[in-house]
């Protein structure tokens, strides 16, 4: 887990140590995991390499599940978002539309759906 953190420069709380400069992020989308998604992946985050400046969420999910098969089926199933997770862009907007576009300046948060306690 520590290796992963260092490798992707994301601290345990998902907020620090990450180099947010454009050069560091070029053609990568930053993804952070919370709750069960983090358990399944075994890491707080990942930088998904992309070919262009933006990517459709459906494509992102496909690549992410290829990289982390353990996200299936609890988090993503057959290319769809499971009801057990929620996705947020930059922590501000929640997304459910898999046709939505995500650009490399954005961070995608993948979290357990049930936020309460």
């Amino acid at each position: 887990m520590v290796d992963e953190q260092e490798r992707f420069g994301i601290s345990a709380d998902g907020t620090t140590t990450y180099d947010t400069s454009m050069s560091a992020r070029q053609n990568k989308i930053r993804i952070e995991f919370y709750g069960i998604p983090r358990q399944r992946v075994g890491s707080p985050g990942y930088h998904l390499p992309v070919n262009q400046q933006e990517i459709q969420l459906s494509e992102l999910i496909e690549q992410l599940t290829q990289r982390f098969p353990s996200l299936q089926p609890d988090c993503f199933s057959q290319g769809l978002i499971s009801p057990n997770v929620k996705l947020s862009l930059d922590g501000d907007h929640f997304v459910t539309d898999i046709d939505a576009w995500i650009n490399i300046r954005q961070t995608l948060l993948v979290m357990s759906a049930d936020a309460g306690g």
Partner: protein, 600 residues
């Protein structure tokens, strides 16, 4: 004792409650008609009905005449997972408004087997006592040496004294000393919020012990068993994985990331030392075990050893929830995990609500910073100060006498507009959801009948969705606040655990189905929606009897005036907020201000 029962109670019910007068040393059975049970179900709903019936709003919460109800539910004792729960309902000594708090496990099952759907207690025992209900027969015994004991020790001792087939709910030293946020404990679970422990303490009751043999019939046992099997199977699935694998404490990192983790008395929404407290970190250094309430297949309780594994000597363990970590950690600026776990254990043993004591101490720390309170040692980030403050509160010593007032009363005592930053609504300290960052939840807090509360309003669910903008409250927030408040009212009255909520495809329809299998009624989803609304309205009615005023339905002034220090986007528009409260009241069918009669 007069025997009295409803002629033919529905399945899952006894059709009566046991009314105990401690002053008179008497008990009587009071029938509960099927219509009443169908209207209020059990748990929180039945409890508030019983209090309204007894005109409990008329009495000061710690007076001899005050009432406290232990309400069971039609599901208790059934094979339905997470159904072993009971509600404790009274006028709160912290808020002077309705308080219903829930706890779980064997007490619910044994209490219902004593032959009643609820136990209503009034009066006051002559000396510190144990109230024993043995198969429906009431007796009172001196508490003796149990008085003064910590919660788990008292429960253990009482169990040894009476026999293991008795189930006991106890108060700690906090309840004995009438701290208005004292808890009632059973089997490591707590009816935590609002001070029901002080209500029992004021009645000189250290513990209630129940056992019984009276079972309720079910309308369709085969159908119920099948339903229960399916529900249990679903409860092993991904919808509850978060609770099984991590527990609620896993919220810490996410809430911190979203700047919705209340920090240093709600001045910031994120905390620099949070990773030290996260269960993901604790699990690397501490032994962890899981615990289940009786009749639960989820097992959300995660207990951690207090000291790290490499430390010397034996270490006890404590349950870790999001709320106790938040309240005793970031809210007080404490990042040392050993201190926070020790503080949590201390609260559980002394019988103090972790959210209220954490909120009150954090408020006092800010008062010290501002020169309003003369306790220079009580500083944000000082773990030893936190522990001392908790001990002093439970003992009512030193500054503890002031902390034991709760944040609202302490603010009023201090003056100088301290009330503006006291973290409370209606006197109940806010749980760990920063209202400015979660503005539908902010509305849920403001209008909640028991005060700021995440268990009676799940409005944060909307904030964590595409449906609303969590930084901008709107009229839609009112609809969402009502939906989640109604759902919570039904769950708390049936009663089933809220951590099961993700497994239902159609919550109201499936609830109607399980209720019908037990009772033999022909309830529908629509009827249960109306029932939930009736229960919410009954709570409001109780509050109005207590003297509720519309100006109570608001947040502390600081939250309405200032953005979070670390998130400029987290700012509430007072105008939009007022509109949302008005729309909430209108959608409830009440007046714009919130009176039950829309013409008022």
């Amino acid at each position: 004792m007069q025997k009295n029962t409803c002629p033919k109670p529905a399945g899952g019910y006894h059709g009566r409650y046991l009314r105990i007068d401690l002053t008179q040393h008497t008990s009587e059975w009071i029938p509960l008609e099927n219509g009443v049970l169908r209207n209020f179900l059990g748990g929180s709903g039945l409890g508030v009905h019983l209090l309204l019936r007894e005109s409990a709003a008329d009495f000061a919460p710690l007076s001899r005449e005050a009432y406290i109800a232990f309400a069971f539910s039609p599901l208790v004792g059934s094979p339905l997972t997470t159904s072993a729960k009971f509600a404790v309902v009274s006028k709160s000594p912290l808020t002077d408004r309705i308080n219903d708090s829930l706890a779980s496990s064997g007490f619910a099952i044994a209490g219902k087997r004593s032959g009643c759907d609820g136990i209503v207690i009034t009066g006051k025992a002559r000396e510190p006592s144990i109230l024993i209900i043995d198969d429906g027969h009431m007796r009172i015994e001196p508490a003796g040496k149990l008085w003064g004991m910590e919660c788990s020790v008292a429960e253990d001792q009482l169990s040894k004294r009476l026999g293991a087939d008795f189930q006991c709910a106890v108060i700690g030293p906090g309840g004995e000393r009438l701290v208005p946020f004292a808890t009632i404990s059973h089997d490591g679970r707590h009816a935590g919020r609002g001070g029901s422990g002080a209500v029992l303490g004021a009645k000189n009751i250290k513990a209630i012990a129940v056992r019984g043999s009276q079972l309720c019939a079910w309308a369709d046992p085969a159908g119920l068993n099948q339903f229960a099997k399916t529900l249990s199977k679903k409860s092993f699935g991904p919808a509850t994985a978060k609770y099984r694998e991590l527990g609620t404490a896993t919220n810490l990192l996410l809430f911190n990331r979203l700047r919705s983790l209340p920090t240093r008395n709600f001045q910031e929404g994120s905390f620099e030392g949070i990773e030290q407290l996260a269960p993901e970190t604790l699990a690397q250094t501490r032994a962890r075990t899981r615990s289940y309430c009786a009749a639960c297949t989820i097992g959300c309780e995660h207990l951690y050893s207090i000291a790290p594994q490499d430390s010397e000597g034996p270490s006890s363990s404590t349950r870790i929830e999001y709320e106790n970590l938040f309240a005793l950690g970031p809210l007080c600026g404490i990042k040392d995990s050993h201190t926070v776990l020790t503080a949590s254990k201390l609260c559980d043993e002394q019988g103090l609500d972790t959210i209220s004591i954490g909120g009150t101490i954090a408020f006092a720390m800010e008062c010290v910073e501002r020169g309003l309170l003369d306790a220079p040692w009580l500083r944000f980030g000082d773990g030893q100060a936190l522990l001392r403050a908790i001990r002093d509160t439970a003992a009512l010593e030193g500054i503890g006498r002031q902390l034991a007032l709760g944040s609202r009363r302490l603010a009023k005592q201090l003056g100088n507009n301290a009330i503006d930053f006291a973290p409370q609504v209606k006197g109940l300290e806010l749980p760990g959801y920063e209202p400015r960052a979660l503005q539908t939840m902010a509305l849920g807090f403001a209008v909640g009948s028991r005060g700021a509360d995440h268990n009676r309003s799940g409005a944060y669910e909307a904030d964590f969705s595409e449906q609303v903008d969590r930084h901008n409250i709107s009229a839609l927030s009112a609809t969402k606040a009502i939906e989640t408040e109604d759902k919570a009212a039904l769950m708390d009255s049936l009663i089933i655990c809220k951590f099961l909520r993700g497994v239902f495809d159609n919550f109201y329809a499936e609830s109607a189905e399980m209720l019908n299998l037990i009772t033999g009624w022909n309830t529908t989803a629509a009827e249960l929606q109306a029932t939930a609304q009736r229960i919410v309205t009954a709570r409001k009615e109780f509050n109005i009897h207590c003297g509720w005023r519309p100006e109570e339905d608001r947040l502390p002034a600081r939250m309405m005036q200032n953005a979070l220090n670390d998130d400029e986007k987290a700012r509430i528009s007072p105008e939009e907020f007022a509109t949302a409260v008005k729309v909430y009241n209108q959608l409830r069918g009440w007046s714009d201000e919130g009176w039950l009669d829309p013409s008022e």
